[in-house]
Symmetry: C2
Subunit: 381 residues, 2 copies
């Protein structure tokens, strides 16, 4: 079924919404934990459900290389392969191909690249990405796009955006053409991705090109790729008010907790990011207003939890000293406990955002939300 979206309440530009997909309902604003290889690293599906995750993201590019589409199709799709019953959004692979840089060769048709796994030549086109996402049977598929690098001249950004728009049309055509051919049709719908770099006229032109077709949701791609924080906020402020109000708006790959609050303020409904899970595995644990680096010696004999105010399984049962010890010994349980804590932090943030929009107090919530200084490196880490 096509994802359906309703806006239930507003607080300034922020929206409280409900996105209904084939495998369930997602309360928005929502955060999608990343399940790159058919697993949100270190977590079981039941743990994700208990943490309150209502939707996760799967990476088409990675799953195409390992285990390959035919193996997931043999299981009836990604849900059954990985034992996750709630909605899945799959990306198109465009962003990962973009990350390969020198290993890829781009043409109008699509992209050819060397597999980083075994060096084999692989091709990814809008049509191949759609076929793959249909085999994954994701609730929400993403159009195949060319992610514009940063920095890019206006001319480069325009060429790249225009290619993305041609690929979006090919993605749309193939996705819905194949709908009738697969068993009972695809379980989901296809979101379009707005490109255009940091150039507002290009962003608006991209949106304009996309809206010639029907999309159940729109994503903002090509941000959080190196541009300054102020540039990102400016693009959102100049672009989001023009995006269709009745469709969910998805800011891809963002970000830190304060980035999410800031983007919700500007009307964004969906977020995904590796930060909570990746930081967890590196021992960086989110606490109100900052990050605890569990590797720091100061925690060596600290019997208190990471955050005494946190209700997560990790903080209820384990000390900083224990988590530091697990990290030093490279114990798997350390990654697990850290990941539980960080995902709880993010999903709790989303609950607090939704509650404050519902209560009419979001603007106050956002104004009071701490903006810790992050070093530039950690945003990318």
């Amino acid at each position: 079924m096509q994802p359906r979206f309703e806006v239930l309440a507003r607080g300034g530009s922020a929206r409280l919404g409900r996105l209904t997909a084939a495998h369930g309902v997602i309360e928005t604003p929502a955060f999608l934990p990343i399940g790159t290889y058919g697993t949100v690293k270190a977590m079981t599906p039941e743990e994700l459900e208990a943490l309150g995750a209502e939707i996760i993201l799967g990476n088409t590019f990675h799953l195409m290389l390992r285990p390959g589409p035919e193996i997931i199709a043999a299981h009836g799709g990604l849900h059954r392969f990985m034992n996750w019953r709630r909605p899945i959004l799959t990306d198109s692979g465009g962003f990962q191909v973009f990350s390969l840089a020198s290993l890829r060769r781009m043409s109008e048709e699509g992209v050819r690249f060397r597999s980083p796994i075994d060096g084999a030549e692989v091709e990814l086109t809008p049509e191949i990405s759609m076929a793959m996402q249909l085999e994954l049977r994701s609730d929400i598929a993403m159009a195949f796009d060319d992610c514009t690098p940063y920095p890019a001249s206006e001319r480069e950004a325009r060429e790249s955006m225009e290619r993305s728009m041609r690929w979006a049309a090919r993605s749309h055509a193939r996705y819905y053409a194949d709908m009738g051919h697969s068993d009972g049709g695809p379980p989901g719908g296809l979101f379009g991705i707005i490109q255009g770099g940091v150039y507002t006229p290009l962003r608006l032109a991209s949106l304009d090109a996309l809206t010639k077709l029907e999309w159940p949701g729109f994503a903002v791609g090509g941000l959080a790729v190196g541009e300054a924080h102020e540039e990102r906020v400016r693009v959102l402020e100049e672009l989001v008010p023009h995006m269709p109000a009745e469709r969910p708006r998805y800011l891809m790959g963002v970000g830190f907790p304060e980035d999410i609050v800031e983007a919700v303020e500007r009307g964004i409904d969906l977020f995904d990011c590796v930060i909570p899970t990746r930081h967890a595995r590196n021992g960086h644990l989110f606490v109100p207003g900052g990050v605890v680096n569990i590797r720091n010696r100061t925690h060596a004999s600290d019997v208190s939890p990471v955050d005494p105010g946190c209700a997560c399984y990790t903080c209820r049962n384990y000390s900083r000293a224990y988590l530091r010890h697990l990290d030093r010994c490279n114990e798997i349980l350390g990654c697990r406990l850290n990941t539980i804590h960080n995902l709880h932090f993010y999903l709790e943030l989303m609950r607090a955002i939704r509650a404050s929009i519902a209560a009419g107090s979001f603007e106050r919530f956002a104004a009071d939300y701490p903006r810790p200084r992050r070093d530039a490196g950690s945003a990318v880490a």
Copy 2:
């Protein structure tokens, strides 16, 4: 409290028993998963409880080096440090010191060695091991022993055994002397360890020396260190009938499922081994009569579970293809799911052993139990 043991039923030499320790009751024959660094690798305590583990083993040697005794003591002991509520048995460090080989210097006083973590000189003596185990507040502590290597001449085995017996007496003296000094006394009791290599007269002399003191349980140490399978069985057959019938008998470091059945047949009550957890992380999954190597290509697109007859979480929810995929991608969830399966296999075996002793059918169970050929390497792996 001192561990108490009752024998509830017998089947030939096999015993169904109940061991009551400070933190709970252990139905025997029992298997102890290994929690080297204050965590059974990849598992939470709740998962271990759900699998039916009633007691786990902690490694004094490893915990002494990381995080160190004072940090665990600051938490009030190993139970609270690692959030495990059921009984814990700690080893003495003797076996690990023995494994260090060239890095150690042995004297009558004890052993000095270079820490494999940071090269610092560390000393381990019966008194230090007891102090450490008392700080861990384990339910069952083990005497500090000199594990006799294999092969060893009778003279070498005798000297080593006699040193172990002097160390056992020093362990006993210090453990119970310190009882009154720590908060409310130690929560547990101290088991003696019988040494003597593959020489039955030495084994019996060791038992004789130990029984001059009171021990709530007796272990057989220094087996599964390279001797032939037949030698191990012979030692058990010649030694176990002389061990006190009213005390639990613990065969340290054994083994494969069929080794456990064979030793229960000869009167052993307690087992510990890294095999189920370590094999899991290497993708070796136990099934009736053998092992599935999940890395094998034949499982690449196999949508069936590891063992259709297995009721574990892994087999109920995931395919061989998914487990192989997780293993190839070095995903943490792969280690978790494999460990759940293998520990379920071992703990289910112990339940089946106990049920058959209770039902009077253990001798038949043991006779029918499959003896797969294992290559010598994998026993040590």
